[in-house]
Amino acid sequence: MRRYFHLYRVFATQFMKSLVQSKVDFIIGLLGFFLSQMFGIVFLSLVFKQIPSLNGWTFEQLVFIYGFAQIPRGIDHFLTDNIWMLAMRYVIRGEFDRFLLRPINPFFQLICDKFQADAVGELIVGFALVVFSVVNHTVTVTPVNVLLFMISVFAGALIYTSIKLFFASLAFWIKDSIAILQLAYETADFAKYPLSIYPKGIRFILTYLIPFAFVAFFPASYFLTGENVIMTIGAEVLIAGIVWIIAYAVFRKGLTVYESAGN
């Protein structure tokens, strides 16, 4: 375990060094993520010029949900973005070989190989909106809330990681799972808005199949209303544990059917 901490630090240091060398790329990517999330907020503000509230939610509340959703997303994005490469090229090109030739955990190697600094763009938007919500008293800061916030963000990031890992691992069977991963990942877009605007089918998918609702809407609604901590953040933690176990098991199983390339 200590060895892994140490190794993680070594990889992180290397990443920081390479970041300094590619400042332009970093700024481009950061700007890209920043803009795409920021435009979502501008969209909401334009809409709320026409209506007082949406399905009972105020503009300020929606801004909090939207911003809150960005934080676990950004954290997962920053730390485990390389999982996409598993879906996209490591399996189909046989590049996964090298992770199997070293005496450390392949998942650990997979996520350490590259960090995604662009995610800072999402994190900036997320934190800015949450701070905005605190300042305008949409949510209140208490020690308990801060603790729950941290737990929720961690669990949310783990849900993101697990969903990505699960669908990326399908590549071990179908070679290239980028399209199906994209499909699953994009369902997260639904979770930026209150679940109540969707029909039953979509709500079911977001709650039970690809549980992005537990990353954003459910925990955010706890912070907005202060109700149902067990059914929101409690459930989020439980779901995070379950999806992680499933995703990691599928990844392990996938390693045994990995076919490399060039046969």
């Binding site: 790329d25 890209g32 435009f39 334009l46 026409q50 209506i51 399209a179 877009d189 979509i202």
Partner: protein
């Protein structure tokens, strides 16, 4: 559009078509090649449409008036469907194509070949458009039209409107191609094509009116939009389809689209010359 005219000096149109047609067909084939990706791509591209649909429905349910900014709920639903179809149709991947050629170092080789690089890109992009017209453009349009007829008894707009829409879409494609071409030339200065694309899509998705009609923006900002090419890429054809413009306004809008093609063509040519000079000096 336009790019090819200058440089393919002495080839007849038919000859050019024969030479460049394989690039269009190749692009269509590429998109068919991976069957899983093919089905799933279509499916996942509809998510944003679904989110938009339910969001706007909720917005109209929360509103006390029938129409927002002159759009009834029905108008808005047609707007976001047509906006989805249109933006999909004219979305090209020139940035990615150029980026890949630069990263793989094949760009200099492409300049040596007896074909025009820009024309090649144009014909490849044409493959994207044709493919997207058939899938998912046409099926979504059919489903939308049938549902509207069955539920509301509404017929699709008149043939004249549809033809004007298609003409306007072709112009949009030209603008989009040239815009993306200019944007793609940036990959000579950064290899981070993925990040470039992300930034581009964020800007386009919003400013071309895919999320929300441009008329929802404050007056002052709309005046600024008049001086930018974005409305011509998506908003104008969709508004033509919605039949929200009087005839003279339609003609003026198309005129504006043509002007943008000319402007972007000149810009594209200027930058292309600079970049090719750079290639010949520095090597691909």
């Amino acid at each position: 559009m336009g790019c090819e005219v200058v440089s393919v000096k002495k080839r007849s149109l038919r000859q050019s078509l024969r030479i460049y047609k394989p690039f269009t067909i190749g692009r269509i084939q590429e998109q068919l090649a991976y069957k899983w990706s093919f089905y799933l791509f279509i499916f996942s591209s509809m998510f944003s449409l679904l989110v938009g649909y339910y969001l706007w429905r909720a917005i109209y349910q929360s509103s006390s008036s029938e129409a927002l900014n002159g759009f009834t709920q029905n108008d808005m639903i047609v707007y976001i469907f047509m906006s989805f179809i249109t933006s999909n149709l004219v979305r090209v991947s020139v940035t990615r194509d150029i980026g890949n050629d630069v990263v793989e170092g094949t760009i200099a080789m492409n300049l040596v070949k007896p074909i025009n690089y820009q024309v090649r890109l144009f014909f490849s992009s044409l493959g994207n458009v044709l493919f997207r017209f058939l899938m998912p453009g046409l099926p979504i349009w059919l489903v939308m039209s049938i549902v509207r007829y069955v539920n509301l008894g509404e017929l699709p707009p008149s043939p004249i409107v549809i033809v004007s829409y298609l003409v306007s879409v072709c112009l949009s494609f030209g603008i989009m191609f040239l815009f993306d071409f200019c944007f793609g030339l940036l990959s000579f200065y950064t290899t981070y094509v993925w990040g470039l694309n992300l930034a581009k899509q964020a800007i386009l998705g919003f400013l071309t009116g895919q999320l929300i009609p441009l008329s929802f923006f404050p007056e002052a900002i709309q005046r600024i939009f008049d001086f930018l090419p974005f409305a011509s890429m998506n908003y104008i054809p969709v508004m033509i389809y919605l039949n929200k413009m009087p005839l003279e306004r339609v003609i003026i809008s198309m005129g504006i689209q043509v002007i943008w093609i000319i402007i972007l063509y000149l810009i594209a040519n200027y930058f292309w010359k600079r970049v090719t000079k750079r290639i010949t000096v520095l090597g691909g």
